[in-house]
């Protein structure tokens, strides 16, 4: 479990993180959404004990990042957005070094490395020099490295950035597997459709502040605002028009007589929308098609970050 309590980070007069409050339950995959400079990497750096907060604290598995950073490091696996590798180390040696860095005994390391390389599908590359791997392979190796000490929490800052579509799919599959292992995963990504598919919860950050937090669908509903609905009917266009004009949640009705089509803006919830459809059918309006022009997370992201430097 992760509790973020009033986390603030200031660089001089610039506030990178502003009294951020958040609780993430164990085993949850939580996606962080926000423009560049919104504060995602700052939060991740604080949680990874690389940065000290100006105010507030974060508690990871009962350990404070402020007071017990060494204990927090045992609980987390961190993958930064940009990272390098040692050019004279082989894949196995790379993992062995980090295993030793976490104090894992040599005999256990061998077994672990074998399992991790299988997990990230790099077994065949175990004797290759790390710097000769492709970008996607390096990302997967870095993910394996972050898992070497079997952490309860994974902090992944843009794990899919710079990857080609195939490498993204491979990364997504590995993350799904890790989710099934019960890891708490914090992940930031710009690839939002993939993120929404994988995440249980979404956190939206803008200018260091928490804008929204909740289940993916809830956030989408909260942020997308009004729905644009298009109804196609067989006939009785005027009856349908009168029916929809009576509903106080409907506005901006537009009728295209040649297509027997009515479009309008709807302010109601999903439940109210079901009720609207039921009443329409009861009123014998011959609806044969109803489509909702819903925004996906990408649109939501663009709407939130409008004007920001992405």
């Amino acid at each position: 479990m992760i509790e973020i309590k009033g986390l603030t980070k200031k660089y001089g007069s610039f506030v990178a993180l502003d009294h951020f409050e958040l609780t993430i339950d164990e085993g949850v995959v939580c996606g962080f959404v926000g423009a560049n400079g919104a504060g995602k990497s700052t939060i991740f750096s604080i949680l990874a004990t690389l940065l000290s907060p100006s105010e507030g604290d974060a508690i990871i598995e009962g350990k404070s990042v402020r007071r017990e950073p060494a204990e927090v490091r045992k609980q987390i696996g961190y993958m930064p957005d940009f990272f390098g590798v040692y050019d004279q180390l082989k894949v196995e040696e790379y993992l062995d070094f980090y295993g030793a860095s976490y104090g894992i005994p040599s005999d256990k390391r061998k077994i672990l490395i074998h399992e991790l390389l299988e997990l990230v599908n790099l077994t065949e590359k175990r004797n290759e020099y790390v710097d000769l791997l492709s970008r996607g392979m390096k990302q997967r190796l870095c993910l394996a490295r972050s898992l070497i000490h079997d952490p309860k929490v994974l902090i992944l800052d843009e794990p899919a950035s710079g990857l080609d579509p195939r490498a993204r799919v491979e990364m997504r599959d590995i993350l799904k597997h890790l989710k099934s292992m019960g890891k708490t995963i914090l992940i930031s990504s710009h690839i939002l459709p993939e993120l929404s598919e994988m995440c249980d919860e979404i956190v939206v950050i803008d200018r260091g502040k928490l804008i929204a937090h909740g289940h993916v669908e809830t956030i989408q509903a909260q942020l997308q605002g009004d729905k644009h609905i298009k109804v196609k009917i067989l006939n009785k266009l005027n009856v349908a028009r009168a029916f929809f004009e009576e509903d106080p949640l409907i506005s901006g009705i537009d009728i295209q007589e040649d297509k027997n089509e009515i479009t309008f803006t709807y302010k109601g919830t999903n439940e109210q929308q079901v009720e609207l459809l039921r009443r329409a059918l009861q009123s014998n309006i011959p609806i044969f098609s109803l489509t909702v022009d819903e925004k996906d997370l990408e649109d939501v992201f663009m709407a939130i970050t409008k004007g920001a430097d992405i």
């Binding site: 750096s45 990874a48 004990t49 690389l50 940065l51 000290s52 402020r66 007071r67 950073p69 060494a70 490091r73 045992k74 987390i76 961190y78 930064p80 940009f82 990272f83 390098g84 590798v85 040692y86 004279q88 180390l89 040696e93 070094f97 980090y98 030793a100 860095s101 976490y102 104090g103 005994p105 040599s106 870095c142 490295r145 000490h149």
Partner: protein
């Protein structure tokens, strides 16, 4: 038990260092320089005497010159090996990952220092066969040889610590390199200059005892912390006595040297350990 004393950074650094071709070429270059010098010295001296043999006194001169030359080489190489220890990790974007492991800052810094020192010790040990040529001709005691090597070790550790400190507190390797070479030049050359300035001032006619000062701790200090001066006083103990007479300080200069360079080591390593996780307070 072994697990407790193992240092992953040290093991990794040793692996990387000894795999790199530049380490091998550096070692070859170092030995080549020593070989040229020893060979040149032997051929020049045997031609001067015209006898074809080498006297113990000449052997001692060769030992002295090699000792000072090796000290100069070691002082020149050490900043190159240590001044990029942390900053290169930062530039390579591997430092953040290293800092999120459970290794303490002390372990990381000591691992970096020891790996650099290990390479320098390899240089010194690899040069021993060339060095030992002097034993063929006599004139040098094993105690002198051991003392010289211990002086190298202390100097290397101190300058290495300075390099590691600058590497930790500066972001760029080039800045750290310049700062460390600056410190090395100060210790090797500026202290000698300051000693001669102090010595000249002490000998001025205005001095209360007719040109010679009876108590010049500052002048004595500059001479005592100069690695070249230490070499000379170890090789020629009478120079140490002369220094004491000139400055009026009876303490052996090697005592000051050991205290000063040990202090530098401790202070620099302490700063490096504190500053490694500069963005995280209370980390060791």
């Amino acid at each position: 038990m072994m697990q407790r004393f193992s240092n992953p950074v040290l093991m990794k650094e040793l692996k990387l260092r000894f795999r790199a071709f530049k380490s091998f070429s550096g070692l070859m270059f170092y030995l080549f320089l020593l070989f040229i010098f020893v060979g040149g010295f032997l051929s020049v001296f045997t031609q001067f005497t015209g006898t074809g043999f080498f006297r113990p006194s000449e052997s001692f001169i060769m030992f002295s010159v090699i000792s000072v030359l090796q000290m100069a080489l070691v002082m020149f190489i050490t900043p190159g090996l240590t001044a990029g220890a942390i900053s290169s990790e930062r530039e390579r974007q591997t430092l953040n990952i290293l800092l999120t492991t459970t290794q303490s800052s002390t372990q990381i810094i000591i691992g970096k220092l020891l790996s650099s020192i290990a390479f320098l010790i390899l240089l010194l040990v690899a040069g021993l066969p060339l060095y030992s040529i002097v034993f063929l001709f006599g004139g040098v005691s094993p105690t002198q040889l051991i003392t010289i090597f211990l002086s190298y070790l202390l100097t290397v550790v101190a300058i290495g610590s300075i390099g590691i400190m600058f590497s930790t507190i500066t972001k760029k390797t080039i800045v750290s390199m310049i700062a460390t070479y600056g410190a090395m030049i100060f210790l090797g050359a500026v202290t000698a200059f300051l000693f001669f300035v102090g010595f000249s001032l002490d000998r001025m006619p205005t001095s209360p005892v007719g040109g010679f000062s009876t108590n010049s701790p500052i002048t004595f200090f500059w001479a005592s912390i100069n690695p070249g001066a230490l070499m000379l006083t170890v090789l020629y103990p009478e120079l140490g006595t002369e220094l004491s007479n000139l400055t009026g300080i009876s303490m052996p200069n090697w005592v000051v040297y050991i205290i000063f360079y040990s202090l530098i080591t401790v202070v620099c390593l302490w700063i490096a350990i504190r500053k490694l996780r500069a963005n995280m307070k209370h980390s060791r």
